[in-house]
């Protein structure tokens, strides 16, 4: 028997309040309006009054439209048929093909027990020296790319998706421009990875509530695949759009805003998603790379700030380059001790020297006399930027390390690099 409720009390923003008994928190409903059916989710219960966030938005909802409760949380069909497909934020196909049959999978699964996580220890090679040498990406890592509008962050994300060594790629697009969505699709098609990719796309033109569902859908599917032993890479872009959608709903629900209008639980909401990244004991793994655009290039903005505290490091993409300062992969220590004995020494020395080079540049720009030491640093900085930092460079890790030694030998004496003697003696290029 289907039960309908039609006493809608309030329509505000994307939230609709209806009188209905026996409704569970966080469960799903279908609201039938003149514009058709839309999914809605319970986000508050007060006695008989149930608040629903309507996926398609509340435009066109009337106060005697009918609501039917499904008594289950949001689900996504799970099967092999998902590969190569594109869905929207309500998990409906958006590639013009038919719906997918599969086992229904609840989104927002319970928390992973930390004792069933294994220590991440497998490097994901990307061929980008600024990542592989200086901030190695590790399987199961959650890592944002902090950037600003106009930077090629989606291109970088797509490139990592194509080059990274993973079984399955899941792309979650939030607030994407339609051409960016097409770019991703084309890149995956041309790169030959579409057959092992699943796309959940919310474009800027779609209703804002659907944006909120995209990470959950991606992560629910990814988690299930990881449990089956697959090594999954989830790419999310742009998480700032997701946070803005959260803000919109929270304000509609009259929650007290904490910082620049964002709800007090922003940290928890973001953490719930990012923490799904996992390396399962005796099963597969899920790695999460997310783009976060920083409004006004301000890293202290609540979204990048909260993200930074949750994720295991961050890449800053600025002027088309991954910034050596601030960019950090917290898990790199798990893998870079086992690659080659000079990896860590090179990593530290090159960055420290580059920092000194920037100081010398400032001095030079202010018109001060350059000492011999300054001149060495300037030469080093120029070589380092050209041969290592450039994002178009695509070389394996060991080649990149050798290249760093060569640059150091071109510019400095071994003692000046700060690298301990035992290592520099072994690797210092001969005849330099």
């Amino acid at each position: 028997m289907r039960k309908y409720f039609d006493s809608i009390q309030r329509i505000a923003g994307n939230v609709v309040t209806v009188r209905a008994p026996d409704v569970g928190y966080d469960e799903l409903a279908i609201i039938s309006t003149s514009r058709g059916d839309s999914l809605a989710q319970v986000i508050g219960i007060e006695r008989q009054e149930v608040s629903l966030q309507v996926f398609a938005g509340s435009q066109g909802v009337s106060n005697n439209d009918r609501v039917r409760f499904l008594h289950r949380p949001m689900q996504v069909p799970f099967s092999e048929a998902l590969f190569g497909r594109v869905f929207d934020g309500s998990a409906r196909p958006r590639d013009g093909r038919g719906p997918v049959e599969g086992t229904p999978l609840d989104i927002g699964s319970p928390v992973i027990n930390p004792v069933r996580r294994r220590m991440p220890d497998r490097m994901i090679a990307t061929g980008i020296p600024m990542i592989d040498v200086f901030n190695t990406l590790v399987e199961s890592q959650k890592l944002p790319i902090f950037s600003v509008a106009g930077e090629p962050y989606n291109e970088l994300l797509a490139r990592i998706g194509l080059q990274a060594d993973a079984d399955i790629i899941i792309l979650g697009g939030m607030g994407l421009r339609h051409d960016d969505y097409l770019k991703f699709r084309n890149a995956f098609e041309e790169g030959g990875v579409l057959g092992r990719a699943i796309l959940f796309i919310h474009t800027a033109a779609d209703p804002v509530v659907e944006c909120l569902m995209v990470p959950d859908l991606c992560l629910a599917v990814g988690e299930q695949l990881a449990l089956q032993g697959k090594r999954v890479l989830v790419l999310l872009t742009d998480m700032t759009a997701f946070a803005d959608a959260l803000k919109e709903i929270a304000i509609t629900m009259e929650q007290i805003p904490s910082n620049r209008g964002y709800p007090g639980d922003l940290y928890t909401q973001l953490a719930k998603r990012y923490e799904k990244a996992v390396d399962f004991d005796e099963a597969g793994s899920m790695t999460v790379l997310a783009c976060v655009t920083m409004p006004g290039d301000d890293v202290t903005h609540p979204v990048p700030d909260n993200t930074g505290y949750i994720t295991e490091g961050q890449f800053y993409l600025r002027n088309g380059r991954i910034e050596p300062f601030g960019s950090l992969s917290r898990l790199k220590q798990q893998v870079n001790g086992k690659t080659r004995d000079d990896h860590r020494a090179i990593m530290d020395a090159c960055i420290q020297l580059y920092a000194l080079c920037r100081e010398s540049r400032e001095k030079r720009d202010m018109g001060f006399e350059m000492s011999d030491w300054d001149r060495k640093l300037l030469k080093y900085g120029m070589l380092f930027e050209r041969k290592i930092m450039d994002l178009s460079i695509n070389i394996p890790l060991f080649d990149a390390l050798d290249r760093c030694w060569r640059i150091l030998a071109d510019c400095f004496d071994p003692a000046e690099t700060g690298i301990r003697r035992a290592i520099s003696e072994r690797h210092w290029p001969k005849g330099a």
């Binding site: 508050g44 027990n113 449990l227 910082n259 928890t268 399962f280 001095k363």
Partner: protein
């Protein structure tokens, strides 16, 4: 006592009830499928009780039952706590994993202590003895410690021992003694007892001044910004500056008996690292695995927010319990900002009037009360125990002018502020030597420390000036100061946490190093041009750093030390 749910809003449930309800008592919300979700009463208004639910509230409905209890949220204390990995409500995570696999299951709770282990109990009290709360009734060996079974803390009056079981093997649930109060009522005592987490557990004669340096083997802490047993410190810092790594290092090397790690609202991966590594690391002081002295309370950021608020108290209570045995305990809370945010979330749900940055008005008093649970105490029998609390703070935007950092700075004894600038320049640990402070006395003569801190400040001034007037506009004296400050920074303050030798420096070696560094800094380098001066100090730093990497007692160590001594003797000029 029962009630019915009327509202559900995030982790907050409002229930209608009749009869008596105790503020801060625990209750259960019963989902329609029978799952009982642990909750705590946090506000009572007329017939309405507001409860925070320690689980996801998905599926709860208006009309569902609520069962109210009368106990406050408590933890169980007794032998078997050491080596455990708990969630914020003291459920052992490995046992949960055994029962339900990869994911946590809402509504599944497991007793905090193993009930099947038989402990070798030796009675020390005898029938007829008069005991009061916290007095030892007997002991059991627990790993490297003698675990004291103590008279119940909640009975504050004198009790007479009626009966004690003979030495033998008992579980934590078996009765090991019967005590009688003045009215002749019998109190049955087992090896476990409960204590409400939000009340400080401190049964002692008096609190003492904490003066005993706590050696962490991190040079910038021990040598420059010391902490003491029974003291408090905080580590604020922006993300990526190395707060958690620093806490992990401290948890490994701190010269202390028991470490309680409260991972509060932080990354699960970091906890995994600790719980996979610790069993393998041998504590050189005891010869046993580090895990045997560690308790982990782990409420990661994805876990329900109400339990996060409770988790630091859970950790503090267990830490205080071991202090009652006369042990030195260290509680590491990472991060107190997440705990504060949990309070903020709940306060927002309760629609309380927000204070600064929407934090509740009681934020500062809660922070103060938490850090005040630290301290050195003198127990009734004259022994001493201490609890040191170290908390990390994750200020929004890395800006220390925010309520949690400021509230913390008012109440701690040492401030180890991490700076983005230092971490970007890979100067680890990124504790800012100019901003940080400590009110404690450490292992190095304070006058010498003050002198080095002045040098660092002067060096910084000179460097600032040099960015304006350039190297050529700087006098040779000033230039040398900058070089020497840099030398001290590189060789003493910076430490490579990932190197076995450099990563942890024992107190004795720190004193020796500090002495050597002072000797180099005190050298009169004479009239040389600036590039020569730089060359000299670069060489000194190179020698010193290589020495830092050499293990004591090795040939390498002696060789670098000789070179350093020769450098000092020759004032850096090689003999002709």
């Amino acid at each position: 006592m029962k009630g019915k749910i009327v509202s559900v809003f995030g982790s907050l449930v409002i229930a209608e009830m009749e009869g008596r309800v105790v503020q801060n008592s625990v209750g259960h919300c019963v989902r329609s499928d029978g799952t009982r979700l642990l909750s705590e009463v946090i506000r009572v208004r007329g017939q309405l009780a507001d409860l925070q639910v320690f689980e996801e509230t998905r599926g709860l409905r208006a009309g569902d039952d609520v069962e109210f209890g009368s106990e406050m949220l408590s933890v169980v204390l007794g032998p078997g706590l050491l080596g455990q990995i708990y969630d914020g409500l003291q459920n052992p995570l490995p046992q949960l994993a055994e029962q339900v696999g990869y994911f946590l299951k809402p509504g599944l709770y497991i007793h905090g202590l193993p009930t099947t282990i038989q402990w070798e109990f030796t009675p020390t009290a005898r029938p007829g003895d008069i005991v009061s709360a916290g007095d030892t009734l007997g002991t059991v060996p627990e790993g490297i410690f003698t675990h004291r079974i103590m008279a119940p803390f909640r009975h504050r009056e004198k009790l007479t021992v009626e009966k004690v079981v003979p030495a033998g093997r008992y579980t934590v649930e078996d009765e090991i003694a019967v005590l009688a109060d003045a009215a002749g009522r019998n109190v049955s005592v087992s090896m476990q007892q409960t204590w409400p987490v939000k009340l400080a557990l401190n049964v002692s004669r008096r609190r003492l001044m904490p003066t005993d340096p706590l050696v962490t083997r991190v040079r910038i802490i021990d040598s420059v910004f010391p902490i003491v047993r029974g003291g408090t410190y905080c580590i604020p810092g922006p993300f990526g500056a190395g707060k958690t790594v620093l806490q992990q290092i401290i948890s490994r090397y701190a010269e202390i008996d028991v470490v309680v790690i409260a991972a509060c609202g932080e990354r699960a991966g970091e906890v995994v690292e600790t719980l996979r590594d610790f069993p393998k690391i041998i504590d050189p002081r005891t010869g046993r695995s580090l895990m045997e002295r560690t308790i982990i309370v782990c409420n990661t950021s994805a876990m329900p927010v109400a339990a996060r608020e409770a988790s630091v108290y859970t950790g503090a209570t267990m830490a205080e319990y071991y202090r009652q045995m006369g042990l030195d305990v260290l509680l590491l809370a990472d991060s107190t900002s997440r705990w504060a945010q949990a309070m903020r979330e709940l306060s927002g749900r309760l629609e309380e009037i927000p204070g600064e940055e929407a934090f509740p008005a009681y934020l500062e008093s809660r922070i103060a009360a938490f850090y005040e649970r630290a301290g050195t105490i003198e127990l009734a029998d004259g022994r001493r125990g201490s609890l040191t609390i170290g908390g990390t703070v994750s200020p929004a935007g890395g800006n220390f002018e925010e309520p949690v950092t400021q509230g913390t700075l008012k109440v701690v004894g040492a401030f180890l502020g991490l700076s983005r600038g230092r971490s970007d320049a890979r100067r680890f640990p990124a504790i800012d030597p100019l901003d940080s402070w400590s009110k404690y006395r450490g292992i190095i003569d304070p006058d010498k420390v003050a002198r080095m801190r002045r040098l660092l400040a002067q060096g910084n001034d000179v460097r600032q000036m040099m960015t304006v007037v350039g190297e050529e506009g700087t006098s040779a004296e000033d230039f040398v100061v900058a070089l020497k400050a840099e030398f001290f920074d590189q060789c003493i303050l910076q430490q490579n946490a990932f190197d076995d030798v450099d990563g942890a420096t024992p107190a004795e070696r720190q004193r020796f190093m500090f002495e050597k560094a002072c000797q180099i800094i005190d050298l009169e380098l004479g009239q040389l041009d600036k590039s020569h001066l730089r060359e000299l100090m670069v060489r000194a730093a190179d020698l010193f750093r290589n020495w830092n990497y050499a293990a004591e007692g090795t040939e390498e160590y002696d060789r670098w030390l000789q070179e350093i001594d020769r450098f000092i003797a020759d004032r850096g000029r090689p003999r002709p």
